[in-house]
Amino acid sequence: MEPFIEIITQPDNIAIVIMIFMVSFFMVWAFQQAFQNDRLLAAGLPVEGENDKFVDTFKPLVRIELIIAVVVMVGLTVWSIAVDAPLEEIANPTITPNPAKAPWYFLGLQELLVYFDPWLAGVVLPSLIVVGLLAIPYIDINPKGNGYYTFSERKYAIMIFSFGFFVLWLLLIVIGVFFRGPGWLWYWPWQEWDHARVVFEPTKDLTAVIGIDSRSLPGFIIGAFLVGSYLVGGMIAPYRYWKKNNPELLAKLGMVRYVTIMFLFITMMSIPIKMVLRLVFLIKYIWITPWFNV
């Protein structure tokens, strides 16, 4: 436990501990309110705030704003008195700390480097995150759940977003901060960091598992086929399914929206898929091309 205490009491990591508590608290609060409203909706009652009256801004709102400002200020002052901002040795390009970690809010992306090449993990995926976030209002055409907490009325939207936000963003940050040690190796909190530790995981490319050199032409073709079929199949299968069971939905979405949603969703899901392949099946690449590897 001692190493763990050492890690969480590092000044910068205290921020992450605070983040864990704050996020968990607000997550619980959000879902609690969502379920509460769901019960009201199920009973045919108005949701919270639906029959709102108006109140004066001055003073009720101003007062609450002031209180929050003072509370935040108190919190930050206490934090600043209790913990000094870190200042390590002067920058020295010749000494690379091990592990060299990015700022904590980018550690999720750094963690992705284990599973993807940098151009994907560091550039393409973050860009797609931004694009995806920007696209949310335009691809979510569900008119319900506007202006109140609810889960039942927008299950899929909330589940997908929560998976992305809590698992792929926050959980990976926590892993990057607390569970990654020298050589970006996995360390449990009770394990001592050992700079000389070497873990050799005999990773293979996917096609090599079935006995075909991934750098050969057949390997290339098979890899391309697999990646392509994931993308194309991921597009077509839900389309087929909805066409059969819920054609109105498809019609409402329209082709452009459908393709955008599915592309973003497929890309997002490729992250856990690749993680499982890498961690469980020790597979490094699926498709190797002369320019990039996937």
């Binding site: 607000f26 930050l76 920058a91 550039v123 976030l133 202006g147």
Partner: protein
């Protein structure tokens, strides 16, 4: 001796008091409205708001807290700028001297650092709240987009500030961060297809970010300017839009069925 009401009365009749507050506040509808739109800070708000907006449980106050953190960071940051030179010879000792010599240097730097972390956390929770209440839905789609950009800018603000102390922590965090830039397809020298554009470490996107092939004096200056001037300016402009749109899109979202 005069009684307290007498004194207050006298103060309120004072010329200076009158020049500042113009009129007495009498808890009438008119005066309540006047208090809001007569004040440059408060007039962002409408005169009356819905009950939910006043309750903590709906908004959690996250947007306001983010803005408050931003103001705090601007204030502490400006004071810190007085004591800081963005050069690799001086940056580190300047930060050291904040602790050892500058009056209130320790608390100043701590507030700035922790305030920055706090703002990143809070801005993420703000986004989560807006999503959970579906507040990005019509008519607020555009403002959600602005919010996404503000989120990215918050990350970048914190990221560029990381290098300024010029210590090992910042140096390597920035090195790791910008090395990802080197992998940009087409534009980074390690990225796919870059060879077709004759991209080298000396003309790629990373070079543009750092002002050199390595993190060095130029990178420090660049990150300083991005951190202290460019990104705050852009953020402030986007914040104006963000706040303005909150009002124009109908204030805090309310249940629409």
């Amino acid at each position: 001796m005069k009684s307290l009401p007498e004194i207050t009365d006298k103060v309120k009749k004072n010329l200076i008091w009158k020049s500042i507050f113009r009129r007495d506040y009498r808890n009438t509808v008119r005066d309540k409205a006047q208090a809001v739109f007569g004040n440059v800070f408060l007039h962002l708000h409408p005169v009356q708001v819905r009950e939910s907006a006043v309750k903590l449980r709906f908004t959690w106050g996250m947007g306001g807290i983010t803005f408050f953190a931003f103001i705090l960071l601007v204030i502490t940051g400006v004071v810190l700028m007085f004591y800081y030179h963005p050069s690799i010879d001086q940056a580190y000792t300047d930060i050291k001297d904040l602790e050892f010599q500058v009056p209130f240097g320790v608390i100043l730097r701590n507030l700035h650092r922790w305030g920055a972390h706090f703002m990143v956390i809070v801005v993420m929770i703000h986004m989560f709240r807006v999503f959970m209440t579906g507040s990005y839905k019509a008519p607020r789609q555009f403002n959600w987009g602005i919010g996404v950009f503000l989120l990215v800018l918050t990350f970048l603000l914190s990221f560029t500030g990381y290098l300024t102390p010029w210590d090992q922590l910042g140096f390597w965090a920035i090195t790791v961060g910008t090395n990802m830039g080197a992998a940009t397809p087409l534009l980074g020298y390690q990225g796919p297809f870059s060879e077709y554009l004759h991209i080298t470490p000396y003309n790629d996107i990373r070079f543009a970010l750092l002002g050199g092939a390595q993190v060095g004096g130029n990178a420090l200056l660049r990150s300083y300017i991005w951190h202290c001037v460019a990104i705050p300016l852009i953020s402030i402009i986007l914040m104006f839009v963000h706040f303005w749109r909150v009002r124009k899109d109908g204030g805090i979202s309310k249940p629409q069925k």
